[in-house]
């Protein structure tokens, strides 16, 4: 990043921080309270049932009733679209602010038990925070959520699948368990963000450029690092440790360049939901699903019918045999890296559209990608697709019984059970190992 762009980013972060600080300290302008009248700022936030602060949304139109210590109503306010409101207390004494639960929309969560009323300390309290979404609505029964969860799992599984094909193919052709694959995913999303936001290009052309850059990066990393290490005769265990080092270095570099925050793309950020039967979704998710299915069909055709695709499968199956039958293994590996880098970038961009762009986004997917390709069968392309899809589906549907914040734990469980029962994976071929 150029120095002046960095300055701009820092300035941006600073202004953002300052806005947030000032905003929460004095939401209605810096008015000094008079002696007998005190103002208290109110924030209402929907935590969406997760510990993750990034998906929090302010809730507007919520009615809050203020009563004094003898339960006499002294004020009634309604939050604005930023979830903010100001209570004016008439004087000294003990007051209680109570959330009117009937004024909440159907689609926002409820506050935790007993947290719908907050008593206002007359001497200290300047800000009251109401958090919603800590308690599930009793009205939506468990089974009503099943279609929605299956749909979420379907779309999330597809994103994992698209990112993990490359990881599995690289493993198949070179034997390398590439822990830095997650950074290829993040890199694609971040490059697209730079082009989209800094250069003000629509996300679709920006994504195409970013995918091309991602593919080139894959090929370059192979040329600069991995093909050299292979020709030095480095063992796969040692290369695995090198890939961990590369992962840590690349992730931290992205953190330095991009900052620690979550940032959305310019387009398709917030879309109104559409209802299809029992499922609520957004147009972008539907387009995303269609796009991924097209790409998967394209990859399958590439592997099945083209010369290079057949060569890739041949090398993955048995490198020595492939080489002796005249296939240029190095060229195939280069192609696999470019394909893997490009697909990782595509997956990263789609993941960034679904959620937001952040330097650790790829790393958060890595565990799921590994669970997926192990489930499908390490080294097989189709296995990676099937396995990732199953993992995505499993972790979303598992939230029926598992708290949302723990859903990724299920992925490890899948991994362990698969290794115990069928270590070669769904589509892998059994071989005697140990």
């Amino acid at each position: 990043m150029s120095p002046d762009r960095r300055t701009l980013h820092l300035l941006f972060a600073f202004v953002l921080a300052a806005t947030v600080l000032l905003g929460s300290a004095s939401p209605s302008g810096a008015q000094e309270p008079s002696d007998d009248e005190r103002e208290v700022a109110v924030n209402v936030v929907d935590r969406k049932g997760t510990a993750d602060r990034q998906d929090d949304e302010p809730v507007g139109g919520v009615v809050i009733v203020v009563t004094d210590d003898s339960d006499v109503e002294v004020d009634e306010i309604e939050t604005d679209e930023d979830g903010k409101a100001t209570i004016t207390l008439p004087g000294e004494g003990q007051f209680t602010a109570t959330l009117d639960l009937d004024s909440l929309d159907e689609d926002v969560g409820l506050p935790r038990e007993g947290r719908d009323a907050i008593s206002i300390d007359p001497n200290r309290a300047r800000i009251l925070n109401f958090t919603l979404g800590d308690r599930e609505r009793a009205s939506s029964s468990t089974w009503d959520k099943v279609p929605q969860l299956i749909f979420n799992g379907f779309s999330f599984g597809l994103v994992i699948a698209i990112t993990s094909v490359g990881l599995s193919l690289i493993y198949g052709t070179t034997g390398l368990v590439n822990f830095s694959h997650s950074e290829h995913v993040t890199w694609g999303a971040v490059v697209a963000w730079w082009i989209n936001v800094d250069h003000d290009l629509h996300i679709i052309p920006a994504a195409l450029i970013a995918i091309a850059i991602g593919a080139a990066s894959g090929a370059i990393v192979n040329r600069l690092v991995w093909s050299r290490l292979r020709s030095r005769g480095m063992s796969l265990v040692a290369m695995m440790i090198v890939s961990i080092g590369l992962s840590l270095a690349a992730r931290s570099l992205l953190q330095l360049l991009f900052g620690g925050v979550f940032r959305p793309y310019r387009q398709f950020y917030r879309q109104g939901g559409i209802d299809i039967g029992p499922i609520t979704t957004t147009p972008k998710i539907l387009w995303m699903i269609a796009l991924i299915i097209v790409v998967i069909v394209a990859i399958a055709s590439l592997l099945q019918y083209t010369r290079i695709g057949k060569a890739m499968r041949a090398v993955a199956d048995n490198g020595d045999l492939a080489a002796s039958s005249g296939i240029d293994v190095d060229r195939v590996i280069l192609f696999v890296w470019a394909l893997g880098g490009g697909l990782a970038a595509l997956g990263g961009i789609l993941f960034g559209l679904q959620q937001q762009v952040q330097f650790e986004m790829g790393f958060r997917l890595l565990l799921l990608m590994f669970a997926g390709i192990t489930l499908g069968g390490l080294g097989t392309a189709y296995g990676a697709l099937v396995g990732s899809f199953v993992v995505g589906m499993f972790i979303e549907v598992s939230t029926l019984v598992v708290p949302t914040e723990l859903k990724n734990v299920g992925a490890l469980l899948v991994l362990v059970v698969v290794l115990l029962v069928r270590p070669q994976g769904i589509l892998g071929r059994a071989e005697r190992i140990g």
């Binding site: 063992s235 270095a249 490890l412």
Partner: protein, 335 residues
């Protein structure tokens, strides 16, 4: 730039509680990677197990501190079985994949709101090592020990001195233990597994059981490091147990020299000297406006970049580290 200050801070860190924690974590990894050829990317999980067994045992379940220290041997061994049983019959890749997931999973579970009553959630648990510091014979203010004739030296508080005395004693005992282990017939089998698993199997040894034992012993050593991690701060917070810790331990191991008893200890001291040196020197340089393209909060990130690049460079250019033997480090394909 105050070089005396920078050197003093670096020395203080190099022999401080953190260096003990990572020396132990790296000794554990040495058992796995150096002697047995297993790649465990979840050593931070064992550190977390050690730290939380003591913190939760004392704070949540009201057990005695010393009982919890013993319990750690049990909990870490169980965790090693959980990781090892499904993976150790397979190629070493599978262990690496499962362990890198496991460290992150432990952190997610520990910080989950759902279990806040037991684990303390994201805020963690504080002040559980009163029994340990109650025995502290040192009193008084912070003391500085300078290298004779200079103003450069280390500075620790009385409580830190107590942690250091016990901690480095444990490191010394652990090194002795590992030394005896790897020279025993059992240790020779481990090294043979690292060199050629199939050959060992053909001699009738149960490779799977040897690997499980190695994973458990190395894990327990890492968990003891975790106890010191928790006790020295009187605090455990899940987010201080990120995956990067495992890689710091790897750098310490490879830097010092894998498959050498003292390699990880030397590596940890040198690693923390260099890491603190870079850290403090960068911060000083930023304060003195020598470096203007960074801000103070980015220094930790820059250090992580250097750690990552350093690990790559070490593996490629000097896999045997400072005191290792290249023929003992499984880095090149010999068959």
């Amino acid at each position: 730039m105050d070089w005396q200050f920078i050197l003093s801070v670096s020395l203080t860190t190099a022999f401080g509680p953190q260096a003990i924690v990572f020396a132990l974590a790296a000794i554990g990894l040495n058992m796995h990677f150096g002697y047995t050829g297993l790649v465990n990317f979840g050593q931070v999980g064992f550190i977390a197990i050690g730290a939380y067994t003591v913190a939760m045992g004392v704070d949540t379940f009201g057990l005695s501190f010393w009982l919890c220290v013993f319990l750690t041997f049990f909990t870490a061994s169980v965790w090693a079985l959980v990781l090892g049983v499904p993976t150790l019959r397979l190629r070493t890749d599978y262990l690496a994949i499962v362990t890198i997931a496991s460290g992150e999973i432990i952190r997610l579970v520990l910080r989950a709101n759902t279990f806040t009553d037991t684990t303390g959630g994201a805020a963690g648990i504080q002040n559980f090592a009163g029994d340990f510091f109650g025995l502290n014979p040192f009193t008084g203010d912070r003391k500085a020990l300078n290298i004779p004739g200079t103003d450069v030296g280390v500075t620790y508080s009385a409580n830190q001195f107590w942690v250091l005395l016990i901690g480095w004693s444990i490191v010394a005992l652990t090194c002795l233990f590992v030394y005896l282990l790897v020279r025993s017939p059992w240790g020779r089998v481990l090294k043979a597994i690292r060199e050629d698993e199939d050959a060992v199997r053909s001699l009738g040894k149960n490779v799977y059981v040897y690997k499980l034992q190695s994973l458990a012993i190395g894990g327990v050593i890492g968990a003891v490091g975790g106890i010191i991690f928790a006790v020295s701060r009187q605090s455990v917070v899940p987010d201080s147990l990120g995956t990067a810790l495992t890689f710091f331990a790897y750098v310490a191991l490879v830097l010092g020299g894998a498959a050498r008893v003292l390699g990880p200890v030397l590596g940890s001291i040198v690693f923390f000297f260099l890491s603190a040196f870079v850290d403090v020197a960068l911060r000083e340089a930023i304060e003195a406006d020598v470096i203007t393209f960074l801000v103070g909060s980015e220094v930790g990130v820059v250090r992580n970049i250097l750690v990552g690049v350093g690990l790559m460079a070490l593996m490629v250019f000097r896999p045997q580290g400072i005191i290792g033997d290249k023929s003992e480090v499984a880095v090149s394909v010999r068959r």
